[in-house]
């Protein structure tokens, strides 16, 4: 089917609008999105069947429906979601009302706004690429509107060229223009979209649930050495209180008295932690953090807490020490960490007695518990049998299949029975080294739980009972790909066959992660603070020099672009044409316009007809112009004559 020009432009426009709104399907209410799709399809049909276009009354009804729909969905028109939906719906309604060329422009500009609202939800490099692509299509639409020629491909080519020409200036603006942080209201409701990670309580299955997710939690870039795998404990929430099944944080989380002076020894690690958006305020620092930025605070359980809104990606510079001594504990703390849901059963007492819990020194008892796990047919599994009633006892005496949380909780329970203050620490363990980006990636599947026991002279000391039963878990790092592929806990490099098949995928994944990391680090994280840091490293320290640089670079780019454009169009305009154009301009001022395809003779005939008063002059000027322009032997006198005639010409 051969479309006529206007239809082609409409199809172009509708397709680009469809592409632009497509990603909004993820976060728009289904009703609103369907309403918009309906409008779009309606308009699409009307490209061919113009008599199906709605009249004013139907449009009014549709507007009312849209307003009601939006209001019921969002209880208002403010906020990120409501605002975005308002724009999308308005775009859909405006589509049904294309009458003039002006409407096409209006719709295109509205579509640009809708395209940019996508960044309020997602800022990944893929989305940025997609938005750039649809903007290219949209610009191509504008190109088609403005030129009768230009087939689809050449319009797209022109649009791409325009984007490339705009690139230098947009980069300069990005780097040098003062950053404006997104206002808080735009991020309302954002928490809902954040990934769900560790929860603030420990229940059977709450960690193994994460074992199958390769979702990224954070990345760490070390300034110097990278700690060995068995040192990579990323500290999260600490659970002290239990009812036998469920473990929760102590109520004395911010009890200042409990915050002792920690002495740090051993290796120090400096790193930048880049958290993905999450629903908690937890910052998973390497055990044990000593220096951290002002935006976070350390609670009494040595966990770093973000003071700010956690719903976006954030980077933290932290220094941690591998060894530390937390010193004494307070009465409250001791009480908290010896708490038992009820008196221990005889079986437990018997086991603790058997392991010399009541007489031997603390460290001997700990060792014997760990070797009990190691020697007594305990198994490490991601899918343990369900233990509803009295899970610790069932695990210790009956099933003996468990995941890290089972080992940690059982271990802490035994410690407490023996009178040693102990608690469960949740967090992440390990991390995959990305060779491309040179950083560690920690995923949900790295979620882990371990135990801390308070020892005299040593303070809180980390013990990982999982390491006793499955040392590979902490020493070699979980092979996440295999774990997800097979549903079993696998420790690399076992099961080579599957490994090999997955290895290329893994390296591709690492490469992609590297790219994504750079995007995060250099583009998304380019905030006010980072900008001023970056600019001061270039010697730009205050606003006025920033503005000077901005103006200077834009002027430079403009000059370069102008020069290249000028150079490509350097064909000199002939002087007789300049004179003739001057004459045409004079006529245009008098209201007589020369049409593009009109020859000088036809134009002169038309002018003579319209303005008999100047017919003679017009005739003469045209004759001389034609002589100069098209004939072989140019006469200098003719040129002077034309110049004089045009100069004295009055329309």
């Amino acid at each position: 089917m051969v479309l006529d020009v206007n239809q082609r432009i409409l199809v172009f426009l509708l397709v680009s609008i469809g592409l632009i709104t497509l990603p909004h399907i993820n976060h728009m209410p289904m009703t609103v999105f369907s309403f918009f799709s309906l409008l779009l399809i309606w308009r699409f049909v009307c490209v061919w069947k113009t008599n199906y276009l709605p009249n004013k009354i139907i449009i009014l009804l549709l507007v009312i429906v849209a307003v009601v729909l939006l209001y019921t969905q969002h209880k208002g028109f403010l906020g990120r979601d409501a605002g975005t939906n308002l724009f999308v719906t308005a775009l859909g309604l405006k589509l049904l009302e294309i009458k003039k060329e002006r409407d096409l422009y209006l719709i295109s500009y509205l579509a640009f706004i809708v395209a940019s609202t996508q960044f309020l939800y997602q800022q990944s490099i893929l989305m940025a690429g997609y938005i750039l692509f649809v903007c290219c299509v949209l610009i191509a639409t504008l190109v088609s509107i403005n030129s009768q020629k230009a087939a689809t491909v050449s319009a797209l080519k022109t649009a791409t060229l325009i984007i490339f020409q705009a690139l230098p200036i947009s980069i300069v603006l990005f780097v040098l223009f003062p950053r404006v942080e997104a206002p808080r209201w735009m991020l309302f409701n954002h928490q809902n979209t954040a990934i769900s990670g560790l929860s603030d309580s420990l229940e059977p299955g709450s960690i193994s649930r994460l074992g199958l997710s390769d979702e990224l939690v954070f990345r760490v870039k070390f300034a110097g050495k990278i700690p060995p795998p068995n040192q990579r404990y990323w500290r999260g929430p600490v659970f002290s209180w239990t009812n036998g099944k469920r473990w929760t944080e102590s109520k004395n989380l911010f009890f200042k008295k409990n915050q002792h002076k920690v002495t740090y020894t051993g290796e120090s690690y400096q790193y930048t932690l880049m958290m993905e958006p999450q629903d908690k305020r937890w910052v998973f620092a390497l055990d044990m953090p000593s220096l951290y930025p002002d935006s976070v605070t350390k609670n009494a359980l040595y966990q770093l807490i973000n003071k700010d809104n956690p719903g976006k990606r954030a980077a933290y510079k932290i220094t941690s020490f591998s060894q530390y001594n937390t010193g004494d504990i307070t009465k409250t703390e001791r009480k908290d960490n010896l708490q038992l849901p009820s008196d221990p059963s005889e079986k437990i007492i018997h086991l603790v007695t058997q392991l010399q819990g009541f007489e031997a020194p603390a460290e001997r008892f700990i060792q014997s518990v760990l070797s009990h796990f190691k020697n007594e047919n305990f198994y490490y599994t991601l899918t343990p049998p369900l233990m509803e009633e009295n899970p610790i006892e069932t695990f210790l005496f009956d099933t003996r299949y468990g995941f890290c949380s089972h080992y940690a909780t059982a271990f802490v329970y035994l410690m407490r029975v023996a009178g040693l203050p102990a608690r469960v620490v949740a967090g992440y363990q390990g991390g995959e080294h990305n060779k491309v980006g040179g950083f560690l990636e920690v995923r949900q599947a790295n979620a882990h739980a371990w135990a801390e026991v308070w020892l005299k002279n040593k303070g809180w000391t980390r013990f990982d009972p999982t390491a006793a039963i499955a040392p590979e878990r902490v020493e070699q790092d979980v092979n996440i790909d295999l774990q997800i592929a097979t549903g079993l806990v696998n420790f690399s490099p076992a099961n080579i066959n599957v490994s090999r098949a997955l290895s290329w995928m893994k390296s591709a994944k690492q490469l992609w992660s590297g790219i994504d990391y750079s995007w995060q680090r250099w583009v998304i994280n380019y905030s006010t603070v980072n900008q001023s840091k970056f600019l001061s490293s270039l010697g730009i320290n205050n606003i006025s020099s920033m503005v000077q640089w901005l103006v200077a670079s834009i002027a430079l780019i403009t000059c370069i672009l102008a020069w290249t454009i000028f150079k490509t169009r350097q064909t000199k305009i002939a002087e007789e044409l300049i004179l003739y154009q001057r004459y045409c301009k004079k006529l245009a001022r008098a209201g007589v316009y020369k049409k593009a395809g009109e020859t000088a003779i036809n134009f002169s005939i038309r002018v003579q007809h319209l303005r008999p008063d100047i017919a003679e002059e017009v005739k003469k000027i045209t004759a001389i112009y034609i002589r100069l322009r098209y004939e072989q032997n140019l006469a200098k006198e003719d040129f002077i004559l034309l110049k004089n005639k045009v100069a004295s010409f009055k329309a």
Binding site: K149, A150, L577, K595, A596, G597, T599, I601, Y630, Q632
Partner: protein
């Protein structure tokens, strides 16, 4: 110049009534050494026109009626065994004439069509390895019925391109038709015509046409026109370089006929519908509406 051509045109106009513009284009085509395609329904004077022109120019004239069973040999000629000399002898066909009227060319099969069209392009025919030159001047006026009529093999684009111009005659207006009805029979009038232009003069004029000046400003306009057809979505494919040359030659002939010695954009615009109309395909079949976007949108430089 005008004095030479004016009697020619006047005499032609006395036979074919009310078609001054078409006759001028036909003569222009002749001066530009191009072949002419006349497309119209039967009976509007296609044959009369070609007959008149042949008569006025004093050219050998032959009409070839194309039918669906015509063979290339019927057009070109064939070698026939001569018993006396005991060898094959070539008997030239109707093609060996200075002016050919190929009547209803689209009623014949593509094989016969291409035999004629090859001869038109190369001014010679090759039969059984021997090449025979065609007489000069060699001018083909082909007529074709509108392709929607029954029993037509439409000429492909590649062969349409061989014709410098395509013109449509159309119905005469009321006054011309009345004159036609009351007048004498056209053929007896043609018989009375005298030669207005000798072949030698014609060759001379054809030479002068090529010497008409085309300024660089004019060539810019010509190239802008060609570029537009290539980039625009109005057309399925743009004008070929050969079409560009044809446009320039035709414009030069038109300039010559107007008695000037430098081509103006007006000349190009005058010949554009008949030169470009059949080379550009768009939704319409009418030459004027085909080139309308070109005339309106390409700025005259």
């Amino acid at each position: 110049m005008e004095n030479v051509l004016k009697p020619l045109l006047d005499s032609a106009n006395s036979i074919i009534l009310g078609k001054e513009q078409q006759l001028k284009l036909a003569v222009c085509c002749l001066l530009a050494k191009g072949h002419l395609l006349i497309e119209d329904i039967p009976g509007v004077g296609k044959t009369t026109l070609s007959h008149t022109l042949a008569r006025l120019l004093g050219l050998n004239y032959q009409r070839i009626q194309f039918t669906s069973d015509i063979l290339p040999a019927d057009i070109i000629g064939a070698s026939i065994f001569d018993v006396e000399n005991a060898r094959f002898e070539f008997h030239p066909g109707p093609l060996f004439n200075q002016m050919i009227l190929a009547d209803e060319i689209n009623r014949s099969t593509p094989k016969a069509q291409s035999a004629l069209l090859e001869a038109m392009e190369e001014h010679q025919v090759t039969v059984e390895g021997k090449t025979y030159d065609l007489p000069r001047p060699f001018f083909v006026i082909a007529t074709q019925n509108p392709s929607h009529q029954i029993g037509t093999f439409p000429l492909p684009e590649s062969q349409l391109d061989r014709f410098l111009m395509r013109i449509e005659l159309g119905y005469p207006d009321k006054r011309a038709e009345r004159k036609l009805l009351v007048g004498r029979h056209r053929y007896s009038l043609i018989e009375e015509l005298s030669v207005q232009l000798e072949p030698k003069q014609l060759a001379n004029i054809q030479q002068q046409v090529t010497e008409v000046h085309a300024s660089s400003a004019l060539l810019d306009y010509l190239q802008d026109l060609i570029a537009y057809t290539r980039e625009s979505t109005d057309y399925h494919c743009g004008l070929s370089p050969r079409a560009g040359l044809a446009l320039l030659t035709a414009a030069k002939a038109w300039t010559y006929m107007d008695g000037r010695n430098a081509v103006l954009p007006d000349d190009i615009q005058a010949v554009l519908p008949s030169v470009a109309g059949h080379r550009l395909r768009s939704g319409s079949t009418d030459s004027d509406s085909i080139v309308a976007p070109l005339l309106n949108n390409v700025a005259v430089s």
